[in-house]
């Protein structure tokens, strides 16, 4: 018997692949997507689908441009697209959403070397980019007549910017008159994916059960935010369930590439996110601090990683003066 395959050990693999992990994330994101379509109407579906399709298209285009093999079949671009869509208000013009996808995939991800090399979460980068570039549209929480959202949300101001069939509403972070059950069941305004706490938590539990993420980051992030809110005299429960905290803590802060690898590092990262989020929400000008908090902590992640390196079993640490060369 000749011509056998000769490789380095080990000769078996667990069967886990990047693509499978991304599929699991998409499955966990499904409940939130289904709810957003139910609540915000068909436009939500168009937005999500367009983002989910444009993102891998941009990645494919980039790979073609730089003459590298197509990397889209690990589905990471699809996840980025869907997450970005979940961060958008339902009334945002489609072209702006596409521009956001372009920025997230091409600038944040591909410019820096593709998957594994991005310095911040592409979806967060896309959202912040849109927030800064199209501030009005990104904070226009108008909903469409005939959708469930319109039934639940009363018009707070009639000044709208998007079409005549839209009803304006405020994101709950700006209003004080929302009750807990509305927040839990998603009977509030906000971006596509952030409104219904229940489906997000369900997705989070799914992710932990499928061993995709460790519960450290979501739990610590939410816990820290609640603690800071309480210390500053705000209602912690309200802050947890209103706005994009759950979406950010469960799906965006837990991105592998931009969060620390060790448990200690994850903890530090999540505490930082929680503190910055609440500081921005309470003392800052923006109603929503999650995107900036995660973005800032993403940038600091390499430092956290270096500071929380594992201590190998039986490793000797030099007693004095570091290593002699």
């Amino acid at each position: 018997m000749e011509n056998l395959v000769v490789t380095c050990s080990p000769h078996a693999r667990s069967g886990e692949t990047t693509r499978k992990i991304m599929m699991k994330v998409l499955i966990a994101l499904l409940p939130a997507g289904a709810f957003s379509v139910y609540f915000f109407g068909m436009r939500a579906l168009y937005l999500i689908l367009i983002c989910a399709i444009c993102s891998p298209l941009f990645e494919m285009l980039w790979c073609w441009l730089i003459k590298r093999p197509d990397s889209t079949d690990d589905l990471s671009a699809v996840v980025t697209g869907v997450l970005l869509a979940y961060n958008l208000p339902v009334s945002i013009p489609i072209w702006e959403a596409v521009v956001g996808c372009f920025f997230a995939i091409i600038v944040i991800k591909e410019f820096f070397g593709g998957i594994g090399q991005n310095f911040i979460n592409p979806a967060i980068g896309g959202r912040v980019f849109l927030l800064i570039s199209f501030a009005t549209r990104m904070t226009d929480w108008s909903v469409y007549e005939g959708t469930k959202a319109a039934d639940y949300l009363s018009a707070v101001s009639s000044a709208t910017s998007v079409g005549s069939d839209a009803i304006s509403s405020a994101t709950p972070l700006r209003s004080d008159t929302v009750n807990f059950y509305d927040l839990l069941l998603g009977r509030t305004g906000g971006s596509l994916g952030e409104t219904c706490a229940l489906v997000l938590i369900a997705g989070g539990i799914l992710l932990v059960a499928m061993k995709v993420i460790s519960p450290i980051i979501p739990l610590t992030y939410v816990g820290t935010a609640a603690a800071v809110a309480w210390l500053c005299g705000e209602n912690p429960v309200y802050h947890i369930f209103a706005g994009g905290l759950l979406l950010g803590a469960i799906f965006m802060a837990t991105d592998y590439v931009t969060s620390p690898t060790t448990n200690k590092g994850k903890f530090i990262f999540a505490v930082g996110c929680g503190v910055i989020t609440m500081l921005i929400r309470i003392y800052g000008n923006y109603p929503e601090g999650v995107s900036f908090a995660i973005l800032l902590m993403n940038i600091v992640t390499p430092l956290i990683d270096r500071a929380t390196m594992t201590r190998p079993f039986g490793a000797l640490i030099p007693a004095k003066g570091g290593d002699a060369k």
């Binding site: 018997m1 000749e2 056998l4 395959v5 000769v6 490789t7 380095c8 050990s9 080990p10 000769h11 078996a12 693999r13 667990s14 886990e16 692949t17 990047t18 499978k20 992990i21 990397s71 690990d74 990471s76 593709g114 998957i115 594994g116 090399q117 592998y256 590439v257 690898t261 060790t262 430092l303 270096r306 500071a307 390196m309 594992t310 201590r311 190998p312 079993f313 039986g314 490793a315 000797l316 640490i317 030099p318 007693a319 004095k320 003066g321 570091g322 290593d323 060369k325």
Partner: protein, 614 residues
């Protein structure tokens, strides 16, 4: 890191921004209002100090000057002048104090802070034009001293963290000594590898003597043997056919009777080149006259006989047993651990040995324990071998105990087994004997006892032949030197064309290029795998998921090692302790991107060795 000028400039800029932010921050703090006029907390002095200590004079001056510019832009020209004078004098004084070799951080910092205040005072005198202001001096000196102490304490506290994120050079930092143990808990990590123990119930079958055997001279760690026979010689079973004068060597014996066909150069599966004796067998299996029950008295004679038996570590390591049983500190070694874990998938040869040769095992344990004064014997076994546990339980007494471990690969690794069985940590550079333990594989003990009871040296092996491409997987007893092709033919031949044939298990075994490989002393399995069984997807980029570092039993960071190897970063490889890697394969096994992590670790070890590492 700081050699690159662009990086230095960028880093200095960063420090400048930090100093400016700190100086702005202290203006906002309610404390400032309570302080007497002209007194600043001096938080930005931490940054200036850091720049002075770890970057250089130029950078420190740049930070101080830049901060004054910031004050000019945000407050007033007078304030800027004060800040500038204070900053410059402070740095000059700190430089003067730094000339003393024994200056502590506190002394330098206090001197700097006082100088800063004095400088500010002098500047304000110039501006106001009245010398009366000098009466303020004592206040400023005192407050400067206080602030200096505070800033030095802060800097000292930050140093370990700054060291870890590489912002502090080696010479300025002192480590705590000691061995790292933290966070390992009762069990070490590993990977849940499927057991595939299809041949557990297959009783060992004795194979008919093959027509030809090839016995390599290099079958142990250490020097390879020189052949003692030449072409045309007659050899008998148990006859010594290779030996070496070197200390680190073990003799090789003929496993068959017949005629030497040739003595050729031979390349082993791991790439080593040695001689090999090719024997055409006559099928008689005549036993050599050299073979006789050994007589010995005392430890030295015992160890000499262990060497004569040709025994090496049969768990796969092939370390000369007579050397392992002779540690430098025999009085401190009181525990024998018998490694019956057999954690690799497919392999069941040790299991069958325990079931079929139980008496030899127990007698061997008792003999070794007596000769080498072991007070305790622990048999470490995985819980996926309940039948063996049942067979061994009756033999447990005050000396022998059974330690049943969860079946998570790689519980059979020497250091892992020692930790799980006794809680002791074999540190970097240590041997098990240094923690009072010696580990022997179950089959090694049985082979040793066989030699002492019958005089027959290591000439035959129990080997598991398994895999989807072989017709009848089973456990076979075969002479050393039997070719794989003969082994596989005895097991029903090929069911289909295999993708890989492995010498050993799937996690640490070596893939061989053809089936003309001989069976070696430390060979426990021949796996004939179909393409599907050893399917390995194309590697893709690392997604930093962290599965590899969670799977590593020794808490290494394979993803970081992979990056350091790609960058040929010797310093980083030393910090990552790549030399501790036992190449168990857990990291590559769990990696979703199918990255060749073990391969990179092996390369990393080479790079570290060649890069002048310790």
């Amino acid at each position: 890191m700081k050699k690159n000028p662009a990086r230095r400039v960028a880093f200095t800029g960063m420090l400048l921004a930090l100093a400016a932010a700190l100086s702005f921050l202290e203006g906002l703090l309610p404390v400032t209002a309570m302080l007497p006029p002209g007194v600043r907390l001096g938080l930005s002095n931490i940054v200036t100090m850091y720049a002075l200590f770890f970057l250089g004079k130029k950078e420190a001056f740049a930070v101080a000057a830049g901060k004054s510019l910031f004050v000019l832009l945000t407050r007033a020209p007078v304030a800027a002048l004060l800040s500038f004078c204070g900053g410059m004098l402070s740095i000059l004084v700190m430089l003067a104090v730094l000339r003393r070799k024994d200056a502590s951080y506190m002394l330098i910092s206090t001197a700097g802070a006082v100088a800063h205040n004095v400088g500010q005072l002098c500047a304000s005198v110039l501006v106001i034009g009245s010398a009366f202001t000098f009466w303020y001096l004592p206040v400023l000196v005192l407050s400067g001293a206080a602030m200096g102490v505070l800033t030095s304490v802060l800097l000292k506290a930050l140093l370990p963290l700054l060291r870890k994120i590489h912002f502090v050079s080696q010479e300025n930092f002192i480590y705590r000594g000691g061995i790292s143990l933290q966070g390992f808990g009762k069990h070490l990590s590993g990977a849940k590898v499927p057991h595939n123990k299809h041949t557990s119930a297959c009783a060992t079958e004795e194979m008919p003597v093959p027509a030809r055997v090839i016995i390599p001279m290099a079958q142990s760690i250490g020097a390879s043997c020189t052949p003692l026979v030449k072409k045309g010689d007659t050899v008998k079973v148990g006859q010594k056919i290779g030996d070496s004068e070197a200390f680190f060597s073990v003799p090789v014996h003929s496993s068959v009777s017949g005629t030497v066909a040739s003595v050729d150069d031979f390349v082993t599966a791991s790439g080593a080149v040695c001689q090999a004796v090719v024997i055409d067998t006559d099928g008689e299996q005549t036993v050599s006259e050299e073979v006789g029950i050994p007589e010995y008295g005392g430890k030295e004679a015992f160890l000499r006989e262990v060497r004569n038996s040709g025994l090496v570590g049969l768990g796969g390591a092939a370390f000369p047993t007579f050397i392992k049983l002779n540690p430098k500190n025999p009085d401190e070694v009181d525990t024998l651990i018998v490694n019956a874990a057999e954690c690799e998938p497919y392999i069941t040869s040790d299991l069958r040995a325990m079931l079929e040769d139980t008496d030899l095992l127990i007698a061997g344990i008792r003999r070794v324990a007596e000769e080498l004064n072991f007070k305790k014997v622990i048999i470490g076994i995985e819980d996926n071998k309940p039948e063996a546990v049942e067979v061994l339980k009756p033999y447990c007494d005050s000396q022998i105990s059974l330690c049943v471990l969860p079946s998570k690969y790689p519980k059979g690794g020497e250091k892992v087994l020692i930790y799980e069985a006794t809680g002791k940590v074999v540190a970097e550079g240590q041997l098990p004997a240094d923690v009072g333990v010696i580990v022997m594989n179950v089959t090694s003990v049985i082979t040793l006892e066989t030699y002492f009871e019958t005089g027959m040296p290591l000439v035959g092996k129990r080997v598991t032949v398994d895999g989807g491409a072989v017709a009848e997987p089973k456990n076979v007893r075969a002479p050393i030197g039997t070719l794989y092709s003969d082994l596989i033919a005895f097991c029903g031949g090929y069911k289909e064309k295999p993708a890989k044939i492995l010498q050993g298990g799937p996690m640490m075994g070596i893939a061989v290029p053809n089936d003309s490989q001989p069976l070696l002393k430390n060979n426990n399995a021949v796996l004939v795998l179909t393409a599907k069984e050893c399917e390995t997807p194309e590697p893709s980029p690392c997604i930093r998921c962290g599965r590899c570092l969670r799977a590593c039993p020794f808490g290494l960071m394979p993803a970081a090692i992979d990056k350091a190897v790609r960058n040929r970063d010797v310093e980083q490889l030393r910090k990552l302790k790549v030399n501790l890697c036992m190449e168990c394969g857990c990291c590559s096994y769990v990696c979703p991107a199918s990255r060749p992590l073990v391969q990179q670790n092996k390369l990393g070890k080479q790079i570290l060795k060649n890069g002048g590492g310790k």
